[in-house]
């Protein structure tokens, strides 16, 4: 791994490579931050409905089902994939030591992507969602997503192709796979759901296949790429084992892509059984990533000023393990039958998409942004505060859901307990989790404000002198009568 960039202090002027990243990455990160805030607002609205079912129920646009899926999709496509792309571009440009080609192309791609997300979220709230989990965006929004990703992704591949540092790092493997993976699964799913629609339960099979490949494989590919890149860089030491990273990569691709079918699915029994075996095998992916990164981290000290990003990354690594283990529990025949259909599954998704992926991305963005802008963050103490708030918020959402989910599942398995009693027994857990949603909203706002203010400050250092020069009052003496 090339370590030259790691010693670059946050305050020094960005080099040619970082400058080439500035436009595209600011575009991607600011929009990602916007969607992150939007997702947490929507999730909070959905959560508050458990305090009073009548809350905002008069408006069709704000009914629980629509707000809930809008929140999930804003988080996935608005934040996760977008921030993932930004971080991927940075890693590719930095490790390849070559500037991004055609920055304007990336900006156009990102604009198309965001148009797709915006139209999709509005469509869901307007009742035009497809009804498929994780694929609620209507076809036209998905088409925009696909095109946007194609533009950004092919630009990223061009950047990899034209790299000056020829050796590929582990992060590269994960990112190359991710750049192909997403358009494949997105087009595969939408072609089979809307263009040549499959019949009956095959729709659910396609949705599960896509869901497993997006929420587990794609998020893990990009999240692990960021972990494998930034943890060694922040600690200023090489990755513990390249071979082990290769093992993680292969097992993630070959086992992870066969997961995602719920144990309770009403399909021929071999399908959930095979999926359960493969999900169990992802344990080796979890363990190898954990061992590799723990060994890299143990005894290391972060380079000055990088404590907050490292905390984000390590927290994300921990949650990757926890979410992966919960996923295995959900897929197993006996345990899965108890925990499916409960809040335990929701907790798993929360840990996977927020606890692991978003936290890793937030850490990476906090690391990248000062180097990108050539100025410190607008608020330098904010990242650490953000970390503690986000960590507490994430656990405050996920733990009550997980515990409440197990209790709910055990009661659902006992037919003598009336359903209404079970529903009400989950309420206290859900109400605690609303507090976590509030915390997450606060830290997402902090994050978005920090990025926005840093960007405006950087922009003002460029434009303010020019602006002042233009608008400076000409001394009266020089004005000719």
């Amino acid at each position: 791994m090339n370590e030259r960039s790691s010693n670059q202090s946050a305050a020094t002027a960005p080099d040619e490579i970082s400058l080439s990243c500035r436009g595209p990455l600011v575009m991607l990160f600011l929009h990602a931050a916007f969607w992150l805030v939007a997702a947490s607002v929507l999730a909070l609205v959905a959560s508050l409905k458990f305090h009073s079912p009548a809350f905002l129920s008069g408006c069709a646009w704000l009914t629980y089902g629509r707000v809930h899926s809008a929140a999930v999709n804003a988080q996935l496509y608005g934040f996760a994939v977008q921030a993932g792309l930004g971080v991927a571009l940075w890693i590719i440009a930095q490790t390849g030591r070559s500037p991004l080609p055609h920055p304007l192309g990336f900006i156009i791609g990102a604009a198309v992507w965001n148009l797709g997300v915006l139209s999709g979220i509005v469509a869901i709230l307007a009742g035009q969602g497809t009804g498929y989990e994780n694929l609620e965006f209507p076809f036209y929004s998905a088409l925009l997503l696909f095109l946007g990703f194609l533009v950004v992704g092919s630009g990223a591949l061009l950047a990899i192709h034209s790299r000056r540092e020829r050796s590929l790092t582990p992060a590269h493997w994960f990112l190359i796979a991710a750049l192909f993976w997403f358009p494949w699964i997105l087009s595969g799913a939408y072609l089979l759901l809307t263009v040549w629609p499959v019949r009956g339960l095959m729709q659910s099979m396609v949705v599960w296949w896509f869901g497993g490949n997006l929420t587990f494989v794609w998020l893990s590919l990009v999240g692990l790429a960021a972990l494998f890149h930034f943890i060694p860089q922040i600690l200023g030491r090489p990755l513990h084992s390249r071979q082990m990273a290769l093992f993680t990569f292969w097992t993630l691709l070959f086992f992870g892509s066969w997961t995602g079918i719920p144990s309770t699915a009403p399909v021929p029994a071999w399908i959930p059984a095979l999926s359960a075996v493969m999900t169990l095998l992802t344990l080796v992916t979890l363990l190898s990533a954990w061992t590799n990164l723990r060994q890299t981290n143990s005894g290391g000290q972060p380079l000055p000023g990088n404590l907050a990003p490292l905390r984000f990354l390590l927290f994300g690594l921990g949650m990757f393990q926890l979410a992966g283990l919960m996923r295995i529990v959900l897929s197993l025949p006996v345990l899965g039958h108890i925990t499916s259909f409960t809040w335990f599954a929701a907790a798993q998704i929360q840990l996977q998409s927020f606890g692991f992926f978003s936290m890793v991305m937030l850490g990476a963005v906090y690391f990248i942004f000062p180097r990108l802008m050539g100025t410190g963050l607008s608020c330098t103490k904010a990242p650490l505060r953000h970390f503690w708030l986000a960590a507490v918020g994430c656990l405050l959402v996920a733990l009550p859901w997980a515990l409440g989910g197990v209790a709910q599942g055990l009661k659902l398995a006992d037919a003598s307990i009336p359903f209404m009693v079970i529903s009400h027994s989950t309420l206290s857990f859900l109400r605690v989790s609303s507090l976590g949603e509030v915390l997450i909203l606060v830290c997402n706002l902090m994050f978005a404000m920090n990025l926005l203010m840093t960007t405006t400050r950087c922009a003002s250092t460029f434009f303010l002198p020019a602006f002042l020069a233009i608008t400076a009052q000409t001394p009266k003496a020089e004005v000719k009568p």
Partner: protein, 292 residues
Amino acid sequence: MNYGPLVFLTAFVALSASWFGFVLTPQIQIGRLTESTNTLNTAELYPKARPGQAAQGLQVYRANGCAACHTQQTVQEGTSIDVYLLEVGTNAAAVATALVNANVGFTRIDDPGFFLNLPKNILPGTTIEAAKRAFKGAQSAGAKAQIRINPQGPDIARHWGVRGSVAADYLFDQPVMLGSQRVGPDLSNVGARLPDVNWHLLHLYAPQQVVKGSLMPPHRFLFNVSKAGQHPSPDALQVPPEVAPAPGYEVVPKPEALALAAYLVSLNSSTPVFETPMTLASSATSTNSPAK
């Protein structure tokens, strides 16, 4: 791995393998199902497409994200084989001896109460061999017995369905919304449980009035509250006074509400099919509680 194309190839092979396994193979197995007589009652075609209004209601169900809180899949954990004694005949002592000799777990039957309260499940949750021996024994002694196969599981015990859901149940739905969370009850057979359209309309308008303590948000945007005028609408909903609009106004369901209610009433997958063997005679009300 220092070559980009090699990474590409690995990813391509991995994803195509999973596509063949989880999309193509199931498509060959369950994607080409048709309406058939694959039912225990061979005179019946199953599945049937939903009637027009119910098919429109599916789209209302989709648009409002009802699947965020409701699943549509009854999970079956297994089957239970039971032997029911229907009539004891004239010689109770001979039946008792035959059952003991059938070697199905009875050492002696001398309690006369054993033959009371018929029909009764005398061998709950047994094996098919033991059930056959007990059945033959009872028949030979002049009693009438029946072997019943009952789907098992908490969902079925909750009367959310008489059997587990199978692929055929969803054949004509586009989209299929199985749901993944049970914030509310499972709806795969709600039409069999609650067949009254007006119940559903009132429940959509004011859930807490119909189901005490319900967590479901009211869906009033599916209804128009308008002045009753000279000719009140024949569709107007009879609402309880707690949620009634101002005097002179009526609550009229919009077409979406009527479609959604028609869809909910159409949700019924109780037709017995071969994938989930069950005895036809046993209705949803038959219990599997152990013999007293």
